[in-house]
Amino acid sequence: MATVAQPAGNPLAQALRDVRQLAEDKYSIWSWIATVDHKRIGVMYGVTAFIFFLLGGAEALLLRLQLSSPNATVLDPDQFNRLFTMHGTTMVFLVVMPLSAAFFNLLVPLMIGARDVAFPRLNSFSFWAFLGAGIFLNASFFIRGNIFNGDLGAPDGGWFGYSPLTSNEFSPGNGIDFWILGLLMLGVASLAGGFNFVVTILNMRAPGMTMLRMPLFVWMTLVTSLLIVFAMPVITVALFELLFDRLYNANFFNTEMGGSPLLWQHMFWLFGHPEVYILILPAMGIVSEILPTFSKKPLFGYPFVVFSGVAIGFMSWGVWVHHMYTTGLGTIATSAFGISTLLIGVPTGVKIFNWLGTMWGGSISLKAPLMFSAGFITMFTIGGLSGILHSMVPSDFQQQDTYFVVAHFHYVLFGGAIFALFAGAYYWFSKFTGKMLHDGLGQLHFWIMFIGFNLTFFPMHMSGLLGMPRRVYTYQEGLGFDIWNLLSTVGGFLIAASMLVFIFNVIYSLRKSEKADRDPWDGRTLEWSLPSPVPHYNFKEIPVVESRDAFWNEKYKEDEAGVVIPVVAGASDDEEEHDGHGIHMPSPSFFPLIAAAGLPVLATGLIYDPALVAVGAATTMIGVFGWAIEPATEGE
């Protein structure tokens, strides 16, 4: 980590300086590629994940087309398997997790009063590793020939990859290998991000920003990051074992040699259930920021919401067997996990009541962020209630592997997480672009998506209770499934239409000349005290925090009668642009990209050619060593 003062004549050092010079020009593409600025990384995360969202959505539409009528022939069974596997994998690992990471990146340093995250270059590495893994995973579509002839090469074992579906015997070809290695690389990216945000939140808070003054979103980021730190290694081991089974004929999940498919399920869900909360806690954090702003009231029962979030984080480790009731683990195990699953509903319920309490009696401003947040609460509650049904063992035996389960987790992950992420997009868009998203178009987007969502997923409760199995490519006439499936398909296309409204809104709003105010919603947290877009150094001076809702309390105080009145203007700092001179910011660096770029090469080599393994490993090594030698900040 020591600095290296290269002699002036060294051509390598000169080349490095030249390439760094390129990255200093803030309008050049190189400045984005080499950026270590948490806001730019956040934007890149958001845009990339949204593109993957459209891709995963397109896959879902193909599935829905196939299921729109009985005995349809849009897809054959093999294509159907590959598409639902990629749909699930994409939405979990390439959409909801990175969209949450986008918000972590954009908001956490601003909310705690810091100039960047603790390890800016590691942050850049996280993004590039995620991007490489996402491309690698999707490249698997092309490995079997022409995809336009229907020769899809993607993995076909489901996003859960149950053994023995993933063995060489039942899934020949390399699709599953791409899936394993893609998820391993995504795990590296998530872990790097998880470490970074835990350290950032614990260590980089502005003076006075005690733990119980932190905005709720920061708390939820902390809990989520800790879940990532502890859950990812478990799936990493499971994936490695599967990789050794497939590439080197090991026996971990080979039943002929005594291996147990149950081991896979235990390890997958020991990771998988914390993962569910990794997906939903950031969404809860976003909603907990938006509701107080649009209700003009502080969050109701702040400590309860914080500790409920922490309790959910802890309890998420003790419920994984509810995914495995029907594997025959015995009455005691299933009952115990049934009870723990019921219990985890308690802190979740506490949160829902606190959100309602926040809105109750507030002066509510019905803007798009609030609409999406209210949509989140209602949809998430419906999904939570069907979740309670699943926690009952006998009831779950009926619902296992039916569309009822599909309805349940789409209500929590789409109705929950995606609605909240859009709420966040409408709320914070102006902070990073300097332009407001059009609110009318936002409301239109909300209503089309809300109706489309319910039209898609509510009928799945019906088809599921009628016994329609998941993951089967078609169904017969006359079983009562037809109408519900047709409705679901129509709803799916409505959701797609709402995305067009959103994309139009983004383009339209970015082209508007009107600039956004720094504090358009009368916000409560520190990011609203900064100009929009936020300058690269964030804070001219590191703020001193004296209370929860730090910015709100700068703007308002109570008079003797207890009435809230605005503080006389002039207290807030002037609008003048500061050139950031004299503020030491970390320098851009290409090494995280180089280190990350070696990973997909190495992974490809493991599947096809050992020579590529050497190339990939060498590239990553060069990246890591360059990173270690290069000074983090210019002039040290």
């Binding site: 808070r205 026996n251 983090a632």
Partner: protein, 215 residues
Amino acid sequence: MAHAETGQLETSTGIDNRKLFMWLFLASECLFFGSLIAAYLLYRGQHDVPCLGGDLSACVFPTDRTINGVEYEGIFDIPFTSVSAFVLLMSSVSMVLALAAIQRGNIRAMRIWLFTTALLGALFVGGQAFEFTEFYREGLDLDTNLFGSTFFVLTGFHGAHVTVGVLVLLSMLVWSGRGKVQQKDSLNIELVGLYWHFVDVVWIVIFTLIYLIQP
């Protein structure tokens, strides 16, 4: 350059960012090795399942055992592995001495102890390579039985961790040789030490659970 990454001089907890990072990383590693060890222990009772080709006589077992009246000789060489475990344990001592040396400002002594640590680590990895080769020659491979799969993957990942540690130690040695590691950089050595001791402790757990305690 203790806080060069951030430009801030003090952290909220008073713990250096990089040190907190290392502790979190090691916490995460606990679950990594925990999962591997759990898989080994779960399958430990299953070694009697016939080996490749359905033939029990083609099996290789970790320790002596009798199945259906036939005796099978165990493959573990406890004295040999005890020696290499002792070598790894001693490398933790030299690591501590390296840190103490740099904290006193004695760079020369630090270099000697870093070199000793790397050498002992390399010796351990060499011993493992020898052990793996021996086992392979006696018929144990990844696909032989569950013992082969779980043993090679668990101890292999541990060996990979030691190897990474040796590479980092050697890098430190090279940098210090160019005068880039001074007393003020002692945190770097402390972080390497944390990682090194962790890998050592993991070996104590593996050695005890896999080699010493037999069902």
